[in-house]
Point group: C2
Amino acid sequence: MITLKELADRCGVSTATVSNAINGKSNISETTKQRILQMIKETGYKPNFMARTLRVNSKRTIGLVIEELAAFSSAPIIEGIMRYFEKQKYETILYNMRVYSNPNWMNDEDFVQTCVNNAVEELLSKQVNGIIHVAEHSRKLKYYNENLPVPVVISYAYPDERKLPYVSIDDNSSTAKMAEYILSKGHKKIAMICGSKDNLHAEKRCNSFKRVLKEHGVPLDENLCVYANWTRETGKAAAAKVLKKGVSAVFCHNDFIAAGVYDYLYEKNLQPGKDLLVTGFDNHIISSFLHPEITTMKLPLLEIGEKSAELMDNLLENDSTCTEGFEIPCELILR
Amino acid sequence: MITLKELADRCGVSTATVSNAINGKSNISETTKQRILQMIKETGYKPNFMARTLRVNSKRTIGLVIEELAAFSSAPIIEGIMRYFEKQKYETILYNMRVYSNPNWMNDEDFVQTCVNNAVEELLSKQVNGIIHVAEHSRKLKYYNENLPVPVVISYAYPDERKLPYVSIDDNSSTAKMAEYILSKGHKKIAMICGSKDNLHAEKRCNSFKRVLKEHGVPLDENLCVYANWTRETGKAAAAKVLKKGVSAVFCHNDFIAAGVYDYLYEKNLQPGKDLLVTGFDNHIISSFLHPEITTMKLPLLEIGEKSAELMDNLLENDSTCTEGFEIPCELILR
DNA sequence: CTGAAAGCGCTTACAG
DNA sequence: CTGAAAGCGCTTACAG
């Protein structure tokens, strides 16, 4: 690949002049400028990005630490971030940790910590101005130590006690909306199939749901609250436990659990939606392909991305010490 | 951020010595090495990646031009590519063109060409050794002119007459498998709902399906072959046209069309799978959430990614002029 | 084992 | 309007 120096030689001018031509400086005669641009076309010269930023020593680049690019939530969050930064003329670079490469990653904090360390190392060496961590699912992250030279924003999860700005979803208000919807349909005997124990989402949804039902004078029977593990299979198993007890509605903590409930109902020759109201959470694409389509809560993934980017922008341009967190409400999708 | 020079000053050694310590060279005493490493920890020094590669002038980096990160096929293909290159010690950098930002992108070749030009510009300026173009859907791509300084591989699509190496799916053999499956179930009156006209997949699947049916003495009635536009809605509309004619099986060119057929059947109080055999294509996640789950063809996305990476590796390490293309068969998923 | 010096490909005052 | 020179943060022969 030809360099700026070689290009200058071919044109019989100095490197400074070529540089000025390329960067559209005004202090250059039109004729030499045209000669240089012509030569650039002929030779296919491309400026060396590394050399340039090394010299200029100022880039506007945000590093994205993606836990798992293949997670269904990642792409929309990234889209939200990129959309925002495109307007703000920041470049984004992705680092995909690919945590799914370790099937046991959820129980292996050391593994994830190592991944994060590598990611941060690489992004810092690429001189990013800030880091946004895009989580695979919401939990308390403790991977970032406090003396990093650039700000960090947590997207789709929470920081631990080391306070970091974050954007996640508002499980409480969202669950409340769902509870009120179910109550508005006149149901009195309601079940709940929760996500895994010790999970932040599950905990919040569980508490919020119980609280709202209680407030409406229809407290949840503890026997009608069981745990699954976010999957279709565990959802079906949970359904078998709880649905014999004559409930008329069941609130599932995600759409896959709800799909498992459907499986159970089909097996018993019961009709979802008619014999039992089933509601989900996430608005995963599958939720509109269940039959009948299921009422669910839409995760504001794009908005989470955009808000995360906005927080980072603010951190960089204004207050670099802000540790505010945001929870964005979900949207009830009636079907 | 502290530089190597400053670090050297603090340790009272030369920059050469620090560099040697960092890069694990053997020509350095253990004591000074320890002193330097200790100082690195204290100061949080990170080497500047740009400066390093500028000097060393050899990176092993592959640029990925992603048409749309949010496309359902993109993440698995990227995963395949990254998995391969991780072993080969190549770094990958992503450029997300985000074509969905233009709803009309499919009919706007100029728009896509501009996106590609920007992507290539940026990746070349970052000194990538090669470019893999990850398409959103299969078609003939004519975005890359022949005098690029690095090799290009097309992933999940085809090159135009300018021959480039590519990896796509084998529509012919996959469709043949599907046709034989349907025939093996004894169906004689079979319909087909194709993807959009002028689409490469649709064309191949259409021709292949007709050929196999003919070979088995059950030629497809031309009236039973209609076009949809890959979506659920157009699939349903197509079903309305073709299913009145008493067919017992319908081959849909993708799972969304099949979902549309389900919608039509439900509306008519007919049972998919019982009153009509419906088969899909793609093994999109929704295919296992339709009720009943649908028989489909699994796209070998991971394999496409891995093979693309392997082609690039080969191009770089061995024959830089190879323009071989590969088509990978899909897997029949019986449900 | 250690350091002085050159140079990777650019940009930017500055002098003319 | 143009060019000589310094320098961004590193690494690498080379001399000692």
